[in-house]
């Protein structure tokens, strides 16, 4: 990787993160905002408070956690997508392949239906998301191996099953109260993210990302197919399990807090591959950065474009699809 790319990779997320703090529905003049930030970063230096509580709340408790969460989820979903695409050797794979999103969606819908608080909704969602993947894995396990085709098909089965359960809950749910909550939740939003949520979501996503980074070189071997990888001495089954556990931790945590955010995990890896090539050793770290930046930009639109919150699921593709189409045309599809 060239030095220029490296500088972009480090500077881009910092810059976008910093700019994001200035974007929002409440107008805060940049000097005040910088003062608020400085007063928090250099808390040991006493500073005169010239701003209102509202400004501080908006910057520290609303914009900051939201920006952090968007970056974390964007990074997590993109790297999971890249790892899965490598493992399955298939460009159409997203991190939701093994049913984690429909499982998590079902858990959340169920919790909303029985009137639970945020923490129960998140826990139920995480639990069912993980459960769905465990079921997928168990179905596909034959003779102590898990052939990729079996994994894909079991994923389809489990996804459809949980999707049907979500539809069932939507059908039962009260149309005026529960249904909009469920529908909005499934479309994905960072609207309710708080500082505390970061603490809950951070460990699984960060551990998952680190796990994937550790095995990233071996994913190159897997993308040659199970038999070739085995012939080269890779413990294929163990590697599969590690990748599945890491991606499941990431996606279940992401979905449980922010709902089902599509597109990111599917397309960001391709955009990165276009940029740095198909070597997973380089690709995976790059997807982290690009995914984080992409979702953060999208979320800035979602929260600041109109006075009502726009569901992320809509924006990720509406803004992302034309951009990806443009890249596809320009590269003439020549990087796979």
């Amino acid at each position: 990787m060239t030095r220029q790319k490296l500088i972009i990779l480090i500077a881009m997320p910092l810059l976008i993160f910093f700019i994001s703090l200035f974007v929002g529905r409440l107008f805060i003049d940049p000097v005040t905002l910088l003062k608020v930030l400085c007063s928090k970063i250099f808390f040991f230096i006493p500073m005169e408070k010239t701003w209102t509580d509202a400004v501080e709340i908006v910057v520290i408790r609303i914009r900051l956690p939201r920006a952090l969460m968007a970056m974390m989820v964007g990074a997590g979903l993109s790297i999971s997508g890249a790892a899965f695409q490598g493992m399955f050797n298939n460009p159409l794979v997203s991190p939701y392949l093994l049913g984690v999103s429909s499982g998590a969606g079902f858990g959340a819908a169920l919790a909303i239906l029985i009137d639970s608080g945020t923490i129960i909704i998140q826990t139920a969602s995480f639990f069912f998301g993980t459960l769905a993947v465990v079921i997928t894995y168990c179905i596909s396990r034959v003779y102590k191996t898990t052939p990729l085709l079996m994994l894909v098909l079991s994923g389809v089965v489990v996804s459809s099953f949980f999707m049907a359960l979500i539809s069932l809950i939507k059908f039962i749910a009260d149309p005026e109260e529960k249904l909009p909550t469920i529908v909005f939740w499934i479309m994905g939003s960072f609207g309710g993210v708080r500082l505390e949520d970061i603490l809950i979501t951070c460990p699984p996503i960060v551990i998952g990302i680190i796990g994937l980074l550790f095995v990233r070189w071996r994913i190159n071997l897997m993308s040659m197919g199970d038999r070739e990888a085995k012939a080269m001495g890779t413990k294929v089954e163990l590697l599969k399990v590690i990748i599945i556990i890491c991606t499941t931790m990431i996606s279940a945590a992401a979905v449980s807090v922010c709902g089902i955010i599509g597109w990111v995990g599917l397309v960001i890896p391709h955009i990165c591959r276009l940029w740095v090539g198909p070597d997973h050793k380089v690709l995976l770290p790059v997807t982290i950065v690009v995914g984080a930046c992409y979702l953060l930009i999208i979320d800035n639109f979602a929260r600041a474009m109109t006075s009502s919150e726009i569901p992320l699921g809509i924006l990720t593709a509406i803004i992302g699809a034309p951009f990806f189409a443009y890249l596809l045309r320009r590269s003439k599809g020549g990087w796979f």
Partner: protein, 372 residues
């Protein structure tokens, strides 16, 4: 070949003629025992002279029919209406005994027409949903829509539409209901005149900013948009902060947006099982604490009634309550306990005790039980 086509043509003509004759005679036979009523959307509906078995399907339909004195004409209600509104059970002990066999009624649900054929109602009161209405028509079940038009362009138009809805229902019920509807319209006019006389001259910059949250019953960030709400808040002396939101009727906003609006009054919808908890959480949350409404303890829960107070026939009482919350100094002489008791006596024919009235005004918490 020509011969075949010719005979087919004659055959079709013959069938059509017989069909028409049958229809005519069938309709003719019904005429003496039926009447035609025009529903609120201009459809002619043929119903029995005296309607005895009404299926009340939309949210406020039971409450409206009950208010108009039609409690003995109801044959079917929604399942949730049997127990979800404690004041409905209090005012009508028979409520629990009504049949409620039809599951999942909402404007977006597909109806199972066989269920309706099975209960054979005299008329079904339903939402103004063309697909569903077509199905009822196919099954020869009279279907009646009454709900007010939500797309009004002015407050007067909105109120006119609400009054038409009540009059239209009264017309369906017949008998004493028609007088009751007139009395109700008069009551509505009186209350609106009263509210208007006190709020009209408040200049725009002095009007408190009002935010309505919790329209989904679980989330204070879920709000309302649309003209009906804007007009209502305006007439009650305030400004609706969500007035610029277009499109969705129940959009979700973020806390930063609310902070930038900085509402003076927050109204929490009585939806969901625990709006009290939603309000407690608002008071506990550091983010909401910077809002004027929270600082000045002006977060209010919409009171409870036979149906939601802000929907159905109880809207005049709701508007009076809302005005009192928005500009309390102008409505200091209005005693809401008294007002709600009068409404219950006059329109539900029920003596609401002072204690129950107070609880209703507080939103009627699930743990409270009336001693009658």
């Amino acid at each position: 070949m020509k011969q075949v086509i010719k005979s087919l043509f004659y055959f079709t003509i013959a069938i059509l003629a017989i069909d028409c004759l049958l229809c005519e005679s069938f309709a003719g036979a019904q005429d003496s025992r039926t009447r035609i009523v025009i529903d609120n959307y201009g459809r002619a509906v043929k119903v029995p002279l005296k309607v005895k078995k009404i299926a009340c399907m939309p949210g406020s339909s039971y409450e409206m029919v009950f208010m108009l004195g039609g409690k003995d004409q109801i044959g079917e209600i929604r399942k949730d209406h049997r127990t979800a509104y404690p004041l409905a059970n209090l005012t009508n002990p028979d409520l629990i005994n009504y049949s409620s066999s039809i599951a999942n009624i909402n404007p977006k649900a597909r109806i199972n027409i066989e269920e309706f054929i099975k209960i054979a109602p005299d008329v079904v009161i339903y939402y103004n949903v063309p697909n569903a209405i077509a199905k009822f028509k196919e099954a020869l079940i009279p279907v009646y829509t009454y709900q007010p038009n939500r797309k009004s362009n002015s407050f007067n138009e909105a109120i006119g539409s609400e009054k038409n809805a009540v009059k239209s229902l009264a017309n369906l019920l017949g008998g004493r209901a028609i007088k009751k509807a007139e009395k109700w319209c008069q009551y509505y006019d009186e209350k609106i005149t009263l509210i208007r006389s006190r709020t009209e001259d408040i200049p725009a910059q002095e009007r408190p900013r009002v935010y309505i949250g919790n329209s989904w019953g679980t989330n204070p960030l879920a709000t309302w948009a649309g003209n009906t709400l804007i007009f209502a808040i305006n007439i009650c002396g305030g400004t609706c902060v969500t007035k610029d939101i277009r499109g969705a009727r129940f959009p979700e906003v973020n806390l930063e947006q609310i902070i930038s609006w900085n509402p003076d009054v927050i109204i929490i919808d009585n939806h969901g099982r625990n709006p009290g908890k939603v309000i407690n959480n608002i008071y506990k949350d550091a983010g909401w604490a910077v809002l004027n409404a929270v600082k000045n303890n002006r977060v209010h829960r919409i009171p409870s009634s036979v149906f939601f107070l802000d929907k159905g026939s109880s809207r005049p009482v709701y508007l009076l309550w809302l005005a009192k919350q928005i500009v309390p100094e102008k409505f200091a002489d209005i005693d809401m306990v008294k007002e709600i008791k009068i409404y219950f006596k006059e329109f539900y024919d029920y003596d609401l005790s002072t204690k129950d009235a107070e609880h209703a005004l507080r939103g009627w918490d699930a743990n409270y039980e009336s001693k009658g």
